[in-house]
Every structure is written in structure tokens, then in C-alpha cells.
């Protein structure tokens, strides 16, 4: 190690304790021991810096699969798709918990071990720190010139005066100072011992303790919070109960009765798209107008909901996370009756808002009808691509769909996605030449189905918004935790614990001052500090000012 590199603390005990020596590091292999001793040995291993380091690495490594394999809690659709595409791997991945890494057994094991290690590490350090708070700076070592930085120089002042000056200079630099006058002789010489930077260890402890606070806040939110998603067509309403959600993820200890009874109506939704330029089609702004009630008897209020502008009510917050189109259709069956009328949610597939959806008409007679296909907000057609959307705004909307007849399979009792046709018992209508009977319908048009099976009318376009309703109760705790952690970290990284000694002796009628320093953390600028102290001790005028 080079001289200007400070001795680095080897272990938590040394970081806090007054002793400059390092405590024994845990032995690396278990000697033959009684169970009790074995347990102590294991505990010391677990709470060692090396274990903490290894666990930190495991934590980082363990998080990687969570970014590669789709996570059920993050994107359940993507996860389901992945499972479909990988029939052999999926069961293995499932066993390994790779679809929800962050609450898998092994990931939990890593961070719980880390936290145990942390507690085991902090508690003794807190104790030592508590004792160390009142400790006095250690006496000057015999040979100051052996320390990483040292200076020897002469001053004009008498020893007693020089000693007092040293005390004052160190005290002004906020050292905790002890003066030890020489016991033999009455030369007036002696030594001053100074120590400062006690708050560094406090900062370090605060940082580590705060990590626990963050974890508590995070866990609290996961246990007692919830997150639900719902698509609401403009003009329709939502009230906060379980049955209204399209998907709902409760925390482990969250009960459905805990949902607060707020409700709202989506009055309108508006979006602006960039009309020209290379990035034409990019949305520049969108917002939904809501009318909401915090409780069923509360007065109705309005709110403009936008990205980065959520609605906060008692028991949850409402966020705008997406939007799309819901074409309005009227379907008549073979008997001429209206079998379906209303908007149908289509899901956007790309940034042009080419959207995919299905229309199920179980009430159609004599046979059930189904439609599957695309909604194109601004219709375009080319031979290579077929029908496509030129622009995301609804400038020239067209439904391009295939009609089916038969049995929709809704009676089997199995739940079905509203975005998918179950085609086992459905037949597509075909033209005489055997081709599919594709219908391209513009707004206001009605198209007849072959063989008098009915008709479909494209009445117009509604928009829908995808909303997320959620609550994470521990978030304030977690926030307080990270902020405290940051404060502690700043103290830990930038406060430099440092010891400085000054010895004043009388030699051949001259006053000789020895000055030396020792940094107790790495990365310090001890040399600069010692240079400055030297200047102040030598400069008698400045020194006088300090003394008075």
C-alpha cells in the first residue's frame, strides 16, 4: 500500500471501534465444534462483509431473469403468450418461479438472508458506536513520523504557547481535542490529540438501517395494496368493486371488502396527434374528462385525467395508462331483429392504432354470429400489405372483418376472453368462389351477410381509456426510507474520520512541533489537510487570531 492511501477498514467492528487494530476475521473453515459454537461460527460467517458482498452479487444476478422472462405481475398477457409459445420450457420455468421472480422462493431467500446479515451487522456496530461516542481521542503514538502524513518544523513561540495554539487550531477545525502536557520537566511541552468525523459511522449506520425501512414500506404496500386495470368506453361508468375490473391483483392481505366505494364516469376523451413532420402520428396530448364521487352520497366533481395527472381519492388513485377505439355497430340477425347494438373494444396493435377485436352476437337467430378483424382509424390499402392504417386519428375509419356463424361456445361454462373468438364450432362465411367473405365497412354503411344470415352496420366510433386503479399504502414509509438512506450515504461517503496529533518539545532552545495525521477512511485528502494545519501552526499572526 502506498503511503497516501489510508488504511481501509477491514471489518464493521473496526469501522466503529476505537481500537486501531483489526479484530480477528472469522475463520474460513469450521473447526470441529459443538453445535453452539458451530451456530456462532455460522452466524459470524453470515454477518461478515464477504458474505454481504456475495449476497449483493446474488441479488443483482437474481434480478436478471426478471427482465428477460415476462413477469405475470407486470404483464400477464405477455407471460401467457410466452407460455403458449414455449410448451416444453414453460413448466420448468414455472417450477423455478421465473414468471414471478420477485416473489419466488429463491429471490426472497437472497434478500431475506441479506437483511438478516444486515441486522446482524448493524446491531453490534450500533452498540460499539454508542460506546465510541464518548471515547476520547487516543494518545499520540511515540513516533509520529511513522504515520502516513507527518511534518516537523520549528516555531518561535514558547512550547506552552505553541501547545495552546495547536489545541485552538484543531478545535476550530472541529476536532474533538485532548491536551496531554508532559509530566516530566516543566518545559511547557506536551501533545494534543484530535479526532473528528464521528458522524461518518453514524451516516453509514443510518444508511443501512434505512434500507430495512425501505423494505418494510415496500413489503407493506405489497401486502395491503392492490392494483386493478379496467377499460372504460367513453360515456360509460365505473364503480370500485371487484366485479368491475378486467384484471385485479390484490396484495396477500388485501380483502375485496377493503375497496373504497368511489365511482366515476368517463365523459369524454380527446387526443391530439402530430399532423406533419417525420414524427407525424405521435400523440402529443391526451386526456379524459371524468365526473367522480368519492362515496355514493358525495357530491359529483369533475377532473381532467391525463398521464402524469392522476386522480387521487380516498382509498386509491386512478391513472390513465392507455387508450383506443371502440367501433359502434348494430348487428341484425337472419330474422331481422337487432341482436346486438353498441360499442365494442378493439385493442391497438401498433402506433397507427390498427386495432384488433371481435364482436360476439350470442342472441342472433337462427345461428349465433361472430366477427373478427381489424379496425383501421384511417383506412389505407396496398397490394403488399392489404388493408392498413395510415394515421392513428379516426379520419377515415373502416372496419375490416370476417363474419362467422355457428356456436360461439359461450354455454360451455368455461370463461372466454372477450378479445378472442373460439372457432371450434364456428364457420367463416365464404364467397361462391370459396374465398373468405371479408367485409370492409365505412362509418354509416351496412353490409349484408350471405344467405340472408343478417347484416352489420358500422354506426360510428367511440374511444375507450384504459385505467389503472391502485393503492400502495407503504409508499410514504418507503420514500422516507430512501431519503434517509441517501442522507446517511452522503455522510458515510463524504465525512472523513481523521485523527491528528501535535507534539511540542523543547530542543536546544527551540520549540519543535511535530504534526501527523491518519485517515480512517479511503479516498481522503489527508495531505491537503495536514498542509493547511501546518500553515496555521506556523503562521504566528493567524495563530494568535485563533487563540484569542
Amino acid at each position: 500500500m502506498s503511503p497516501e492511501q489510508a488504511p481501509v477498514v477491514e471489518s464493521p467492528q473496526a469501522a466503529a471501534g476505537g481500537a486501531a487494530t483489526t479484530p480477528p476475521t472469522p475463520p474460513s473453515s469450521p473447526p470441529a465444534l459443538s453445535p453452539r459454537e458451530l451456530a456462532r461460527w455460522a452466524w459470524r460467517q453470515l454477518t461478515s462483509m464477504r458474505t454481504a458482498l456475495v449476497l449483493l452479487f446474488l441479488l443483482a444476478l437474481g434480478a436478471i431473469p426478471g427482465s428477460i422472462v415476462p413477469q405475470r405481475d407486470v404483464d400477464s398477457l405477455a407471460a401467457a403468450r410466452w407460455v403458449d409459445q414455449h410448451p416444453t420450457l414453460a413448466p420448468i420455468y414455472d417450477k423455478l418461479g421465473l414468471f414471478s421472480v420477485f416473489d419466488s422462493v429463491w429471490f426472497s431467500a437472497i434478500y431475506i438472508l441479506l437483511m438478516i446479515s444486515l441486522v446482524g451487522c448493524i446491531v453490534p456496530r450500533l452498540r460499539i458506536y454508542w460506546r465510541g461516542m464518548r471515547a476520547r481521542p487516543p494518545k499520540a503514538p511515540r513516533n509520529l513520523s511513522r504515520l502516513p502524513e507527518s511534518r516537523t518544523f520549528e516555531v518561535d513561540a514558547a512550547p506552552a504557547e505553541a501547545l495552546e495554539r495547536a489545541r485552538a487550531v484543531l478545535a476550530r477545525k472541529r476536532y474533538r481535542v485532548d491536551v496531554h502536557p508532559d509530566s516530566e520537566g516543566d518545559t511547557g511541552g506536551g501533545a494534543v490529540a484530535g479526532e473528528r468525523g464521528f458522524l461518518r459511522e453514524a451516516g453509514n449506520l443510518l444508511f443501512h438501517v434505512s434500507l430495512l425501512v425501505v423494505l418494510v414500506g415496500f413489503a407493506f404496500g405489497n401486502l395491503y395494496g392492490y392494483k386493478g386495470g379496467v377499460i372504460v368506453v367513453s360515456g360509460q361508468s365505473f364503480s370500485n368493486s371487484l366485479s368491475q375490473y378486467d384484471d385485479f391483483l390484490p396484495g396477500a392481505l388485501f380483502g375485496a371488502d377493503d375497496l373504497e366505494p368511489f365511482s366515476f364516469t368517463v365523459d369524454d376523451f380527446h387526443v391530439d396527434f402530430l399532423q406533419s413532420g417525420e414524427q407525424a402520428g405521435m400523440p402529443t396530448d391526451f386526456a379524459a374528462d371524468l365526473t367522480y364521487r368519492e362515496t355514493p352520497d358525495a357530491p359529483a366533481r369533475t377532473y381532467e385525467l391525463a398521464v402524469n395527472h392522476p386522480l387521487q381519492v380516498d382509498g386509491g388513485s386512478v391513472f390513465l395508462v392507455g387508450h383506443g377505439y371502440a367501433p359502434k355497430v348494430t348487428v341484425r340477425d337472419g330474422e331481422g331483429n337487432v341482436a346486438y347494438k353498441g360499442p365494442v373494444v378493439f385493442l391497438p396493435e401498433d402506433s397507427t392504432f390498427k386495432s384488433f377485436g371481435v364482436i360476439k352476437v350470442p342472441d342472433a337467430m337462427p345461428e349465433q354470429l361472430g366477427f373478427e378483424g381489424l379496425f383501421l382509424p384511417t383506412y389505407g390499402f396496398s397490394m403488399e400489405r392489404g388493408p392498413f392504417s395510415q394515421f392513428p386519428d379516426a379520419l377515415d375509419p373502416v372496419l375490416s372483418i370476417l363474419p362467422y356463424h355457428g356456436d360461439l361456445g359461450l354455454d360451455s361454462g368455461k370463461p372466454q376472453s372477450v378479445y378472442e373468438l373460439k372457432k371450434d364450432d364456428l364457420d367463416v362465411f365464404t364467397k361462391d368462389n370459396g374465398n373468405d367473405y371479408r367485409l370492409d365497412i365505412a362509418v354509416g354503411q351496412t353490409k349484408q351477410l350471405p344467405g340472408g344470415a343478417g347484416s352489420i352496420t358500422f354506426d360510428g366510433v367511440d374511444r375507450w381509456v384504459k385505467l389503472q386503479v391502485s393503492e400502495s399504502p407503504g409508499k410514504k414509509i418507503a420514500l422516507a426510507g430512501v431519503v434517509l438512506a441517501l442522507l446517511g450515504l452522503l455522510g458515510s461517503l463524504f465525512i472523513r474520520p481523521r485523527r491528528t496529533w501535535v507534539r511540542v518539545t523543547r530542543r536546544e532552545g527551540r520549540t519543535v512541533v511535530e504534526l501527523a495525521g491518519l485517515d480512517r477512511s479511503s479516498g481522503g485528502d489527508l495531505r491537503d489537510e495536514i498542509n493547511e494545519l501546518e500553515k496555521r501552526l506556523q503562521d504566528s499572526e493567524a495563530a494568535k487570531r485563533e487563540t484569542t
Partner: protein
């Protein structure tokens, strides 16, 4: 100037800045090439000699003291090229700054210049230059000159050729002042980690030579400060970057995410990798205080940290683009 003028100005400024970075790089190259023939006084001897207020061992200029008259002249030439390199870097940095500012002004409405990957890259590389120039004097960083300028040339080239998009307004998800706070912090931390990573890399090279006894008296490696000095510079950069990264990734990011998406932490790929980066740098700081991990192992951990940081920036957008809520930044 109209928006279009400003946008064109920004593009030109980037082109000029790149050219000047190349010139700065060349000047530093000449500095080191000329330096190859001039022996450096053996650092170990010097370290001992440094007693009461002697020359600072981390100043490369000090290496050239007490050499013959010929060599003094050579030393003067070396120093001149070094200073030219720094001056050119300063010019490039100013052009770079102008490019960043006009890029933001060119948008309508005016906004922060980091709404997509091109802009983030251009601004972050400026962060690297800024960090280097600010600390140049304090830590005597001139030995980093070739690395910083070379790095910026390469990355800017990549930005212009691969990532370029014309100026446009922000997507609605970015309409928030948290964009300014969160991303500024991320950029500053990225700059500090990048410079720190360069120092760690040079530390590994230099300490390898020192330990194997293959350290020659001439050449770039010989002219680098001692390994212990490199280690300390690396530590300071990382220690500066870490709290800022903590703020960017674990405070500002979650607060914004809570506003925008209704969850402060959602294990989105970008968030996962920001977390991984944080954990790896925490491990670096830990390693420096752990017996057996100081020095080489710690430096390698720091480089792993930098790799995760860059992967998060580049990799996530390319590999997980559509599954990440952060993907609009691509």
C-alpha cells in the same frame, strides 16, 4: 432563429464538436507518442522522496523534473501537446454544449434536450466531457484526455449514425418536470460512473504492470499516475456518482413512476437494470472495504457496474423495447 434553424444548428454543432474531439484526441496521441522516448523518473523512488510539501505525485508534469536539458525540451513539447489537447477538448465541449442547448430550444414547445435516445446520448456524452473538464485541475486528470476524447468521438458517431431522430415534441408520458429532475440526475451519475470506469480500467492496466514488474520508464502506462492514485480517483468518481444514482433511480424515478403509472416500483426491465446497477456499485463500495477484495476485484466490479449501466441504456431499448414501459425513450 426558427425551430428548423435551431435544429440544423444543433446538428452542425454536433458534427463540429466531433471533429474537434478528434483533433483533441490526436493532440493527446501526439503527447503520448512524443512521450515514448522520454523516460519518466521511477515513480517508486519519487513516492519516497515526497516528504514535506514536495511535488504532488499525482501530477504527471512533476515526473519530468530533474531530467537532462534535451529531455527538458522534449518535456516542454509533450506538455504543449497535452495543453493543446485540453484546449481543444474545451472547444469541443463548448460546441457540444451549444448543440445540446439548441436541440432543446428547437423543439416546440421548448423542452429539455433528452426526450429520446439520440438526445440522451448526446447529453450524456456532454456530461462525460463536463465531468472531466471540471475535475481536470483538481485531480490532475490529463492522462484521461485520450480516453475521454476517444470515447466521446466513438459514441457521438454512433449517436449520429444509428440513433438520430429529428426534433419533435415529447410523448405525453414525458410531460412532467420530473423528466428534468430524474434524467438530469441520471445523466450526471452516468458521466461520473463513465469517468470512474475509465480510471478503474487504467488502474487495472497500471497495477498489472506494477505488480509484474513490467513497468517501463517510457510510454503511456509509465506516464499514468501510480495505481494507488488511479484507484483513488476512481473511488472518488464512483463515490460522487453513487448518491446521485441513488437519487435518480431510487427516489426521483419512483416518485415520477407513481405519478405517471400509479406504481412507484413495478419491476419493469428498465427499473430492474437500474436496480442491478445500483446493487453492483454498492458492491463496489463494499468491496473496497473488504479484505481480499480491494484493488483489482473492486475495479472489476466497478467495470461490471458500468457494463450494466450501458446495457440498461442501449440493451433494454433494443432487446425489450416493446415490453418496457420506458421504451418511448427509444
Amino acid at each position: 432563429m426558427t425551430s428548423a434553424d435551431l435544429a440544423a444548428f444543433s446538428n452542425n454543432a454536433i458534427a463540429f464538436a466531433s471533429v474537434v474531439y478528434v483533433l483533441a484526441f490526436l493532440a493527446h496521441l501526439v503527447e503520448w507518442v512524443v512521450g515514448r522516448t522520454v523516460p519518466v523518473t521511477v515513480p517508486e523512488q519519487r513516492a519516497v522522496a515526497v516528504g514535506a510539501g514536495g511535488p504532488r505525485p499525482d501530477a504527471p508534469d512533476a515526473d519530468l523534473a530533474d531530467t537532462g536539458p534535451d529531455q527538458a525540451e522534449q518535456a516542454e513539447r509533450i506538455d504543449r501537446f497535452g495543453r493543446i489537447g485540453v484546449a481543444l477538448t474545451l472547444v469541443a465541449g463548448l460546441l457540444h454544449l451549444a448543440a445540446v442547448v439548441t436541440r432543446g430550444l428547437a423543439a416546440d414547445p421548448v423542452r429539455v434536450p433528452w426526450g429520446n435516445m439520440y438526445e440522451f446520448t448526446v447529453t450524456a456524452t456532454f456530461g462525460v466531457t463536463l465531468m472531466y473538464l471540471l475535475l481536470l485541475r483538481r485531480y490532475h486528470l490529463r492522462w484521461l484526455g485520450p480516453v475521454v476524447t476517444g470515447f466521446n468521438v466513438a459514441i457521438l458517431m454512433l449517436a449520429v449514425l444509428v440513433l438520430y431522430v429529428p426534433v419533435g415534441p415529447l410523448v405525453p408520458a414525458l410531460h412532467s418536470y420530473w423528466l428534468a429532475i430524474h434524467v438530469t440526475a441520471a445523466i450526471v451519475a452516468t458521466g461520473a460512473f463513465t469517468v470512474g470506469g475509465m480510471a478503474s480500467l487504467l488502474f487495472l492496466v497500471r497495477s498489472r504492470a506494477e505488480n509484474r514488474g513490467t513497468l517501463r520508464t517510457t510510454g503511456y502506462i509509465a506516464r499514468l499516475p501510480q495505481a494507488s492514485v488511479l484507484d483513488r480517483v476512481a473511488y472518488r468518481m464512483h463515490a460522487f456518482g453513487f448518491p446521485i444514482w441513488t437519487f435518480a433511480a431510487l427516489i426521483a424515478g419512483p416518485i415520477w413512476a407513481e405519478y405517471a403509472w400509479g406504481r412507484y416500483w413495478g419491476w419493469d426491465p428498465k427499473e430492474i437494470w437500474a436496480f442491478i446497477t445500483w446493487v453492483v456499485y454498492a458492491a463496489y463500495l463494499h468491496a473496497r472495504a473488504t479484505a481480499g477484495w480491494k484493488g483489482k476485484a473492486a475495479a472489476i466490479i466497478a467495470l461490471i457496474g458500468l457494463a450494466t449501466l450501458l446495457f440498461n441504456f442501449v440493451g433494454i431499448n433494443y432487446f425489450f423495447g416493446s415490453t418496457s414501459q420506458h421504451s418511448y425513450s427509444g
